[in-house]
């Protein structure tokens, strides 16, 4: 067999190993989630890089209105467009895979994909054209400040977010239904027991009755499914909060479009802030941490082929994290003087500190699982899993520090918050965990395609790790010198730090380029095109039947 030329590999993929005609509808759908997730990751990364350049030296093209609309869209595209699609795609495949039964509804999963893809594009395009820029925080009454933003642009933006939330709601439905339902022709499934086990209610009941938690082998749902189910509770609550808030804002916009100015004081700004942060924290301090812990456990299990270390504790920590995520929002309001001190200390400081414990447990359990399986081969999934662990090991303590009444006074809204905490958590912790899952699932989802270049994969890893940590570190250093996170500096006040942060950002872009080239060369352009053709397999088939 002759070696393939570069062009042949580009068109047909590495060794022609990827044969899209063999894919099931579920595999194709999951790969579509990944493709769009990566496209939106590239959107967010390019926008992030443009903003990094603007922080070095303000650019004429990025005048304040455009800059702030980019600042508004950037995290929303990153979280909803990229992280949600990658996570939802993976879980839509993994829940039936782990539960050993078909997905409840392929159609609903398809709707989820297109609603999120369409919704993200709607609000991104609206922000790009009209410069609607209330930031993701939407502090009342800024989203309805019609002296700065046109009500129509706001209404379109909020509609885009609402589409994402409807798609997300359908994902929630599909996850719980898949866990609980009985597929046609199957023996009746114990729906209640399955859900109670996944959500930890059966364990809670045992503990309340003074009995010990069950051994891992006796659970009706795998640990990873328990993590997905518990994180999905936060997803559902978040959908409810964001949709309600969106409707509230839309009422003001629609009224304005019809010529009526509703009184902004009808909504209490502090109550709204509490309410909205409660909902937002279900993402940042809830589903992200629960999903990530679950993903670490699953990756560690699949990499080592062993049961997770201290699985009973791992399962309980997932439940504790879920409850903690409902009670930590006040750490965002430590600099709000009207916020009651009891909430600042109780929710803002003490309960938030529990995240150090729950995430620390997940970190320890994952490392111990890997450690007990030595020697391991340093594969791409293992490499990126270690990267993900590193990200959260750095970012969680940074967050705990800023969730302190004393330190928050000098850290709130500075680059410290968004650098060592947010970007290191999202880019290094979350994204590297997602990359680990992508590398691990690649052969399963493509029926055996092998990575084109291991070297390029390693370059992807190191550039991303160094770029992500470096960017967070230099932003943090600027933050400690007083640099604010949502401010344009026109006189080069922090340019040395911002140069270094921009160089680190460039490493992240280079890492993305390595990954994309590697994936395209692995699958081939033809393969990507054929993802959008109809599969010949039945929709309830997860992976093709092995050939006899």
């Amino acid at each position: 067999m002759t070696a393939m030329t570069f062009t042949e590999t580009l068109v047909h993929g590495h060794e022609r190993a990827f044969r899209p005609s063999t894919l099931t509808p579920m595999q194709k759908l999951t790969l579509k989630y990944v493709v769009f997730g990566l496209i939106y990751y590239a959107f967010a990364a390019i926008e992030g890089m443009l903003m990094r350049i603007n922080q070095v030296q303000p650019q004429e093209l990025l005048y304040p209105e455009r800059y702030y609309s980019m600042l508004t869209a950037h995290p929303l595209v990153g979280i909803f467009g990229s992280s949600y699609l990658l996570v939802f795609g993976a879980f839509t495949f993994l829940v039936p895979f782990l539960m050993k039964k078909p997905l409840w509804s392929f159609k609903v999963a398809t709707w989820t994909l297109w609603l999120i893809v369409g919704g993200v594009f709607t609000f991104w395009l609206d922000g790009f054209i009209s410069h609607y820029a209330p930031l993701y925080t939407l502090y009342w009454p800024l989203p309805a400040d019609f002296s700065q933003f046109h009500p129509l642009s706001g209404a379109i933006f909020i509609t885009g977010i609402a589409l994402v939330m409807v798609g997300t709601g359908l994902f929630v439905l599909n996850v719980f239904k898949t866990i609980a339902y009985t597929p046609a022709g199957w023996e009746k499934q114990p729906s209640r027991e399955l859900l109670a086990d996944a959500l930890g209610l059966s364990t809670l009941g045992r503990i309340l009755r003074g009995r010990k938690a069950k051994p891992e082998a006796e659970h009706k749902t795998p640990l990873a499914v328990a993590a997905i189910a518990r994180g999905t509770i936060d997803v559902a609550l978040n959908v409810a909060i964001i949709l309600f808030t969106g409707v509230l804002i839309l009422v003001y916009m629609v009224a304005k479009l019809f010529g009526a100015d509703l009184a902004k004081t009808s909504v209490d700004a502090l109550l709204y802030k509490n309410w909205f942060w409660w909902g937002l924290d279900l993402v940042a301090d809830g589903l992200v941490l629960v999903f990530v812990a679950g993903a670490w456990y699953l990756l560690a299990q699949l990499i080592t082929g062993r049961q997770v270390f201290m699985a009973k504790w791992a399962r309980m920590a997932l439940g504790v994290e879920l409850v903690v995520s409902w009670t930590v929002w006040s750490h965002h309001l430590l600099s709000d003087q009207a916020q009651p001190a009891a909430l600042k200390v109780g929710s803002g400081e003490l309960v938030t500190a529990f995240e150090l414990i729950t995430q620390g447990l997940a970190f320890f359990i994952t490392l111990a699982t890997l450690w007990q399986a030595r020697p391991l081969q340093m594969t791409m999934p293992l490499r990126f899993l270690l990267g993900g662990l590193t990200g959260f090991a750095l970012a969680v303590p940074a967050g705990i520090m800023q969730a302190d009444a004393g330190l928050n006074r000098v850290l709130h809204n500075t680059q410290w918050v968004v650098g060592p905490h947010v970007h290191v958590a999202v880019l290094v912790g979350l994204t590297m965990t997602l990359y680990a899952a992508v590398y691990l699932l690649l052969p399963i989802l493509t029926n055996g395609a092998q990575l084109w270049s291991e070297k390029l994969g390693k370059a992807h890893f190191w550039l991303h790790l160094v770029g992500g940590i470096g960017m967070g570190a230099f932003m943090g250093m600027a933050g400690l010198q007083g640099m604010l996170r949502r401010t344009i500096y026109y006189n080069g006040e922090y340019s040395s730090y911002m140069w270094l942060a921009a160089l680190s950002g460039a490493l992240l872009l280079a890492a993305l380029a390595c990954f994309l080239v590697n994936i395209v060369m692995t699958l081939g352009l033809n393969g990507a095109k054929e993802l959008f053709t109809k599969s010949t397999h039945p929709v309830d088939q997860l992976v093709p039947e092995p050939v006899e």
């Binding site: 209105e65 450690w371 030595r374 020697p375 590193t390 060592p420 006040e493």
Partner: protein, 187 residues
């Protein structure tokens, strides 16, 4: 009273040391993961429980330590109950700080209160040194009292800057040299 720069210096040292330590641990584990173990590789449960205990200890002690060492925390949490030598009423509207005087003259070493009211949007109220480093700040929420109690330990001149985003119009909400602290230099 120590300056906020001292607190931030302490935090920088602690966090940097932590980062170096945790990166070293992960790097060591990563290298060892690929090597055949020389002995049985069982992680003892007592190591796990000790780690849980350590996390609890750190989580709880952090706030106890900062409450007892960062001077502004008790005042901050007691809020309106603190007696202030002087109160400065500041209003914010249309992305502009309206001060009672062109420059607020603040007695050094005495506890004062900045009472800031927003008439429209959510803003921030931050005091910054000439080198742009942050002295202190609070959020300014419309419809609510926003009182920042502070004691300045040395003479200096500070600028006021909004520390919260309030739309593109709030891009440069700065009042240069708005606060002058005097009275400590002689002492």
């Amino acid at each position: 009273m120590v300056e906020s720069t001292t607190v931030l210096w302490g935090q920088t040292v602690v966090y940097t040391l932590y980062c170096v330590a945790i990166l070293a641990v992960i790097a060591w584990v990563s290298v060892r993961l690929t090597k055949p173990p020389g002995h049985a590789t069982v992680v003892p449960p007592k190591l796990f429980y000790s780690f849980v205990g350590l996390l609890v200890l750190i989580g709880v002690s952090l706030h106890i330590i900062t409450f007892n060492t960062i001077p502004w925390v008790p005042d901050d949490l007691h809020g309106d109950g603190v007696t202030a030598a002087k109160t400065y009423a500041v209003t914010v509207r249309d992305h502009t700080f309206v001060l009672p005087e062109k420059q607020l003259v603040v007695p050094c070493g005495q506890t004062v209160r900045f009472s800031v009211t927003s008439e429209d949007l959510t803003y921030g109220f931050g005091l910054f040194r000439a080198d742009n480093s942050l002295v202190t700040q609070m959020q300014v929420v419309p419809g609510h009292p926003n009182n920042l109690v502070w004691t300045f330990p040395k003479d200096d001149v500070y600028s006021i800057r909004s520390t919260e985003y309030s739309g593109p119009k709030g891009d440069q909400m700065i009042v240069k040299d708005a606060v002058r602290v005097t009275g400590c230099a002689k002492g």
